[in-house]
């Protein structure tokens, strides 16, 4: 999981990070202990929501931004359940 490595390196350089991923990769990400992770219940290749679902995509991004701002420790995980369609 490339983004796990990137998140860790950026964080060590003082840049706060959040990964927003389809939860199909939950186990692969979890063992990397990334600083912050938002998990979405969507299919591979569409982690922010269905094509054309602008409201859902924005809601997912907002969840990521909230976690970026409010997390207090590494390994923070947030699950979102906005409908895919």
């Amino acid at each position: 999981m490339s983004v796990g490595h990137i998140a860790r390196a950026a964080e060590l350089a003082g840049i706060a990070t959040v990964i927003i991923s389809a939860d199909i990769f939950e186990q692969r990400l979890a063992v990397m202990n990334p600083p912050r992770t938002v998990l979405t219940p969507y299919p591979m290749g569409r982690p922010l929501g269905q094509a054309g679902n602008a409201a859902g995509q924005k809601a997912t991004l907002l969840a990521g931004l909230r976690l970026l701002a409010e997390a207090t420790e590494g390994g923070s995980v947030l699950r979102v359940d906005h409908p895919y369609c």
Partner: protein, 228 residues
């Protein structure tokens, strides 16, 4: 075994860069014969339901559940420590970057992997093992780029969602909206993309020190990372 001599195991494995490459269903190779048989039987049953309901939701959820099961085993990359820094300013004042592993690039700025001009998506799929042996290239994506000027190519996932709407992962439009609405101080320009199917050790040792410097020069306060 079929009349052609193909076993069910060979059939289910053929979706992973085999005779029937399909990146949505390559996970079938990670399932046992019994698991794959149950997945396919249930998929067909739900297709039958769709004929009457007209609602594909349970099919979408079934595919996602199958993918989740197929990718349930962790990779070798495991860490005990948990690096963490808080966001150093409120979101409405923060500069937020976006990076995706989707393989997007600007038309005219093709990274030309392995020196191949205008590599097709099909060739990228067929050469996935080559991509996994090299460090990824960083593509800079202007945040005001038109959809017509954006390209995507990645041999590791089904790019049809990204072709239909870049915002399924590379959410340029949504991030621009969030900046305009004041949810964040600034959407850092450019955004970044690369092909996530890459040599992970080379990414860590060679690429990341350079990329972190790029992030620092862009004065990012926060970075959203979106894998596919």
């Amino acid at each position: 075994m079929t009349e052609s001599g193909e076993t069910f195991t060979q059939f289910k494995d053929s979706f992973l860069y085999g005779t029937r490459p399909d990146l949505n269903f390559k996970f079938l190779k990670n399932l046992t014969e019994e698991e794959a048989a149950v997945f396919l039987q249930q998929l067909l049953h739900k297709v039958g339901n769709l004929l009457d309901s007209g609602d594909a939701t349970e099919i979408i959820n079934h595919v996602r559940d199958g993918q989740r099961h197929g990718y349930r085993n962790p990779t070798q990359w495991a860490y005990e420590d948990k690096p963490f820094v808080p966001l150093n300013k409120p979101l409405p004042e923060a500069t937020i970057g976006l990076m995706t592993s989707t393989g997007h690039f600007v038309d005219g700025e093709d990274p030309e992997p392995f020196g191949v001009e205008a590599m097709s998506q099909d060739e990228a799929v067929s050469r996935i093992s080559d991509f996994l042996r090299v460090a990824p290239d960083l593509s800079r994506i202007p945040t005001d780029i038109t959809p017509e000027a954006l390209r995507v190519r990645h041999g590791g996932y089904d790019i049809r969602g990204s072709l239909a709407d870049r915002n399924v992962a590379l959410a340029l439009d949504r991030m621009n909206e969030l900046a305009a609405e004041g949810e964040i101080g600034r959407f850092a320009n450019p955004a970044y993309s690369f092909v996530g199917a890459a040599a992970q050790t080379r990414l860590k040792n060679k690429t990341l020190p350079e990329w972190v410097q790029v992030f620092q020069e862009a004065q990012l306060d926060g970075l959203i990372l979106v894998p596919v």
